[in-house]
């Protein structure tokens, strides 16, 4: 028999091992456990895309009402660019009305109209305008389609502008005259981020935290309900080892899910990790610790497993939307941003993003780490006495 601290550590691991063994033997549970991260990433990644890269070959109507040569030239240039970038699949429509009907029936997502008088306006040195109509039933998609269409026309317009300038003043650089100050993007990392690069760290943090919260909730509540907690409590072991063991097993489960999300994101969605894997693990562990206390408090006061699970849902649901996981916090009203910044998940997500995308060092995420540590210490400091009290009622 060993004694003291080493025995307590051993018992903590033993309780965690038992929990994981039970989990391992629940095959259906494992299937759901593995499927959930895949579903979450796919659903959120594909259903709420933030960039045009996800709208490939969107059907677009082209109506040329002007029979001038310029109108036909512009329409052709648009088709070439749309096709080479795979942004749009352009179909010609005889009239605006028929193209508009196409939006209503769902055959096209937008309409480009080159109106009558387009060539005449250009030739008489007045601005020639094209009209764009998009399917407004999906505001995100409408905004992306409008933006990309307008951007193609800006490119075409620039080319025309530069050729006009070169004719008018041949001694100057046309690009200097048309755009004296240029802008060039220099990325902090190798390539610009995509939606999944933004979502992956948030989902990793969310999964670890949700897994720990709901896992801890059901693990403790189930043992209380089925009576096995009495068997553990009747043994000569510290109450802290019970809390420690439960936390450890749920942490392992949460971390496996978190890394499953990362692996899938890398494999399926091209997510790249630029920072230190060690720091990623540290931040995820701190995320777990910061929520474990809250989970223990909720399960200690819940009379049964069902109530405990509902309490966890109540905690998780607002966190998903207020912690900057699905969209940047800056998009929220100020007061909601304040609420979000009071939640530890915000700091875990922020730190994970900085490490994974910007390759931040420990010092650069120190503020997030400090908040998470403070949260962990405070909530666990409150939770452990409540747990002890609750189980010896």
């Amino acid at each position: 028999m060993t004694s003291g601290l080493s025995q307590s550590i051993y018992i903590t691991f033993r309780i965690a091992h038992k929990d994981l063994l039970e989990f391992w033997k629940a095959k259906m549970l494992i299937v759901t456990f593995m499927t959930m991260p895949i579903l979450m990433m796919s659903m959120f990644g594909f259903m709420f895309p933030q960039t045009s890269s996800l709208y490939k070959n969107a059907p677009m109507a082209m109506v040329v009402e002007d029979d001038g040569s310029l109108a036909i030239q512009v329409a052709d240039q648009f088709k070439v660019i749309a096709s080479s970038t795979a942004l749009f699949r352009v179909q010609d429509f005889p009239s605006y009305q028929s193209a508009r009907d196409g939006i209503l029936t769902g055959t096209v997502k937008g309409v480009v109209v080159i109106p009558a008088g387009f060539t005449a306006a250009f030739n008489s040195h007045r601005q020639a305008t094209v009209l764009i109509t998009v399917d407004d039933t999906n505001p995100t998609m409408a905004s992306v389609i409008y933006g990309e269409t307008a951007s193609i026309f800006r490119m075409i317009s620039d080319n025309f502008g530069q050729s006009i300038i070169s004719k008018m003043c041949s001694s100057s650089d046309p690009s200097f005259v048309s755009e004296p100050i240029g802008v060039q993007r220099e990325n902090l990392i190798g390539s610009p981020t995509n939606t999944f690069q933004f979502l992956a760290p948030g989902f990793m943090a969310l999964t670890v935290v949700m897994g720990t919260l709901s896992g801890l909730g059901s693990a403790i509540a189930r043992e209380k309900e089925q009576g096995t907690m009495d068997g553990i409590m009747a043994a000569p072991i510290s109450r802290n080892t019970i809390v420690g063991g439960k936390m450890l097993s749920q942490t392992v489960r949460g971390m496996i899910q978190g890394f499953l999300i990362l692996g899938l994101s890398m494999l399926l969605f091209g997510v790249k990790v630029y920072g230190s894997p060690f720091l990623i693990v540290v931040v995820m562990l701190l995320g777990v610790a910061s929520f474990a206390g809250i989970g223990i408090i909720a399960t200690s006061i819940a009379p049964e497993q069902e109530t405990a699970m509902m309490m966890m849902m109540l905690l998780q649901f607002p966190m998903m939307f207020l912690s900057g996981i699905l969209f940047p916090m800056d998009q929220l009203p100020n007061w909601l941003q304040l609420v979000g910044k009071m939640l530890p998940l915000y700091y875990a997500t922020d730190a994970l993003r900085k490490v994974m995308i910007l390759s931040a060092s420990f010092n650069q995420i120190l503020m997030d780490v400090v908040v998470l540590v403070l949260y962990s210490v405070t909530t666990l400091g409150i939770a452990i006495p409540i747990f002890r009290k609750a189980v010896t009622r």
């Binding site: 051993y10 038992k18 089925q226 009495d230 068997g231 553990i232 000569p236 009622r393």
Partner: protein
């Protein structure tokens, strides 16, 4: 015989509700103490306090010479608990369950292996040891539940309704096992609603009602005192015949204080 469990004004309150009201009790070493009472009388709460699962609100209790409040770990090393709800994990096998609980008592794997084999043989479960206990019958589970409480060879075994919902064969097996363990020197605290079981097994019977001990003595003495044929008649005489479905059914009853 010397007392192995003593309580002094042991009390448990939940808010304004007094679940156990100033109980004074002595249970002798080596005896089987039948702890009886209607539903909600305070049996389980008393057992929970004696097994350190619940803290007394007032009063003291010493188990195997140790205070349940201040020397809880010492008490825990010396007691075994066979609760009404099975303290077993259905997805795990018998061996996995017993290894886990044995290690909680500080027994190492080397010590545990032969002990588990011996106990499994004792309850005829050696051929089922690697099966998940979710696939066991009620009787098999209860036999396993009992040996789970014996893993660390405790001096005192608390048995909370060990034969509830079992078939007659399993009931007989468990009763014989209780006798056998008692003959080997274990003190047993047995709670049951089956009066004939209490009569058959117990050296001393304690009856609790409305949180108070209303009788503690040998079953034969109580039967003779109340001029009753059976322990069940004594029980009904002392605790009344009103159904105990609600708090309002708590009625004053005659009190006979034997050894209390």
């Amino acid at each position: 015989m010397k007392p192995i469990i003593t309580t002094h004004n042991l009390t448990k309150r939940f808010g304004n509700f007094v679940a156990v009201d100033r109980i004074n009790l002595e249970i002798m070493e080596g005896e089987i103490f039948g702890f009886l009472g209607p539903n909600g009388a305070g049996k389980t709460t008393t057992i929970r306090m004696l097994t350190t699962l619940s803290e007394p609100t007032e009063g003291t209790a010493r188990v195997a010479g140790f205070d349940v409040r201040t020397q809880a770990d010492e008490v825990r090393r010396r007691i075994g608990l066979v609760a009404e709800k099975l303290i077993l994990y259905p997805r795990l096998t018998a061996v996995e369950n017993l290894m886990f609980f044995g290690e909680l008592y500080g027994l190492n794997r080397g010590e545990l292996r032969p002990r588990i084999d011996e106990l499994l043989r004792m309850v005829h479960l050696e051929n089922f040891k690697d099966m998940p206990i979710g696939s066991y019958s009620s009787g098999m589970r209860q036999r396993l539940n009992i040996i789970r409480g014996l893993l660390h060879d405790p001096e005192i075994l608390f048995l909370d309704e060990p034969t509830a919902l079992l078939d007659p064969q399993s009931v007989r097996f468990v009763r014989d096992l209780v006798k056998e363990l008692n003959e080997d020197g274990k003190t047993m605290i047995l709670t049951t609603h089956i009066m004939e079981e209490a009569d058959e097994l117990s050296h001393t019977v304690g009856i609790i009602d409305n949180g108070k001990m209303v009788a503690v003595d040998e079953a034969a003495f109580l039967k003779s005192k109340f001029n009753c044929e059976t322990l069940e008649e004594v029980f009904l005489e002392l605790t009344g015949r009103t159904l105990r479905d609600s708090a309002s059914s708590r009625v004053p009853v005659r009190r006979v204080m034997g050894r209390v």
